[in-house]
């Protein structure tokens, strides 16, 4: 129904490390319609943060990215000149909410200074490449910042601007982070585990806020999390990743009710709220330097056979709007 805002096709990322070349993302494909909240879920080391950073264009220097396409809003980010990307896309059309609000602020500057630094370069009133910060724009940006701080439900925003990060609580800092991510009026916000460091009552408040603001402003969100409960709360659609491979993408309802890929099913069974909660998944995540040649979950998968060990299948769509990359998806018919 919506136009695709982001389309990733066969994206691979390799890191050169002392131990060899680690293929952290292996031909990942992903499509994000405009206005949707897409969850990237998976356990630690599955590559969800790397994928988020690859889309943002913020990979470390030892990473090498290759792929068929990384299209965002009509542009190919793989082919785009890095300077144009820095000016027009990063921090402007795509913004970022980090995992840890405690270490993401500069402790030596006030919150107000750090917000105005964002607006100086990335304000929607500021044309790309503008170097002058005119007084009129300074005033309108300040009003904009105050309005946004009110929108994220922070009390007394004028006084907040003069505070230092250590004077705020974790929940308040994450609210400021969300405000800073929304100030440039982006089309896509990448939120990398934004509630992992927060307590559960604060997490509920932040998720409610993020979902409300994203829907109200029509912003798409790519939301990485290892917590399936959080994904259930906020996402419209979920992609599950394992060891650098995307295995299954589905709308939230059918993802949790009718998961098809064995890994997803085992992961859901491991949730502490389930009856089979103490089962877990035997075995360990493979090394990314010498991964299994086919499906990377094959060594731990109860259904694995020859083809699984030989190849990672291309995406198929066994049910409408439900993509999997698995040789043995379990397809359940919907009870009438």
């Amino acid at each position: 129904m919506n136009a695709e805002l982001l389309s990733v096709r066969d994206l691979s990322v390799e890191f050169t490390t002392e131990g060899g070349v680690a293929r952290v993302l292996d031909a990942v494909s992903l499509a994000l319609p405009a206005g949707e909240i897409m969850g990237l879920v998976g356990e630690s080391g599955c590559g969800k943060t790397t994928l988020a950073r690859a889309i943002l264009g913020a990979l470390p220097a030892n990473a090498r990215m290759s792929g068929t396409a990384l299209r965002f809003d009509g542009r190919d980010l793989l082919a785009l000149d890095p300077r144009v990307a820095a000016d027009e896309v990063r921090g402007r059309a795509i913004t970022f909410v980090p995992q840890d609000p405690f270490s993401s602020f500069n402790p030596l500057f006030t919150v107000g200074d750090q917000i105005s630094e964002v607006l100086r370069w990335k304000s929607p009133d500021c044309p790309p490449g503008e170097r002058i910060y005119a007084r009129s724009r300074r005033r309108s940006d300040r009003a904009r910042a105050l309005a946004m701080l009110r929108a994220v439900q922070l009390p007394d925003p004028e006084r907040l601007l003069t505070k230092y990060p250590h004077e705020l609580s974790g929940g308040q800092r994450q609210r400021v982070m969300i405000a800073m991510a929304l100030l440039p009026e982006p089309k896509l916000v990448i939120a990398d585990e934004p509630t992992t460091a927060l307590d559960v009552t604060i997490q509920a408040q932040i998720l409610k806020l993020l979902r409300g603001l994203a829907n109200e402003r029509g912003v798409s969100v790519l939301f990485t999390t290892h917590d399936l409960g959080t994904a259930w709360e906020i996402c419209d659609r979920v992609t599950v990743m394992y060891a650098g491979q995307a295995l299954e993408t589905a709308p939230i309802g059918s993802f949790f009710r009718r998961p098809m890929v064995p890994y997803t099913r085992l992961l859901l069974d491991s949730l502490p709220s389930r009856d089979a909660a103490l089962r877990g998944i035997p075995g360990e995540v493979p090394s990314l330097i010498a991964p299994p040649p086919g499906c990377r979950f094959a060594p731990r998968c109860p259904l694995a056979d020859g083809p699984c060990r030989a190849s990672h299948p291309p995406p198929t769509e066994p049910a409408p709007d439900h993509q999997v990359r698995c040789h043995h998806p379990r397809i359940e018919t919907v009870p009438a």
Partner: protein, 323 residues
Amino acid sequence: MTDAAPILELRAVETRFPLRNAWGRQTDWLRAVDGVSLSVARGEILGVVGESGCGKTTLGKTIAGIHRASAGDISFEGNEIGGLSPTAGRALRRRLQYCYQDPGASLDPHWKIGRALEEPLVIHTKMAAGERRARVRAVLAAVGLPETHLDLYAHEISGGQQRRVGLARILMLRPSLVILDEPTSGLDVSVQATVLRLLLESRARFDLTYLFISHDLAVVRLIAHRIAVMYLGKVVETGATEAVFGAPRHPYTQSLLAAVPVVGGARVTETFWLEGEPPSPTNLPTGCHFRTRCPRAEARCAAEAPALRVLADGRRVACHFAE
């Protein structure tokens, strides 16, 4: 479970830390644990839950003797261990072990696993070297690790395996009570499930009692017989797990349970009502600590702190309005 003498009993335990100004003069106290009374029956699993800063870890460390209780009594297997100095308490506490939150950080990176496991026996027992090694091998097998791991260093094994080594180290001295501080935090769900299963198996095999400290309510519900909910240094509600989870009576417990996302359940983001954040523990409100966020707060809540009252079903709640 109630007729036997409790293995651990706390009466009005307080742990305070001095707050000092820039000249090092003490200005006030931070009351991390503020009058906690609890008892743990032999063989049971008591879950202690609460958000960060509620004092649950300080409580665990006070029981283990890592912090000294400022006031109150702690009796463990009939012996009073509360006010003792670390040296005097050591012999009494041998059967009480504390399992650190992150075993990856609490294992010595220069030591092989085998040496780390043997150390408690060297300190606390007079076993011969051969006996010690036999015990190490037996316990390592009990936690499901291969013997080859004895020659590995802590950084060479995964997070889930580090937890197993942490537990093996605790089991070396055959404790009766183990304080588990966030035993599953930082683990992925698939690994968490196997660690929890190991904890339950070890409990049955070695006849253990657990004090299970965690912020993860779903895990506590799965594993604990009784729970104690803490808020800013005080226990606000305690009772049988299913009773508390099924029908929480304290407004804080109600909001805490309402905040946990449940896959397939109602969306918390649409129903959650609690506003604001906990006040700073250095500047606590008068009366009930929760009144600043509580929807039912009245003048009485500011005037007097509610005591833990026993309700009809046997649970205890510290709220003026709970019935």
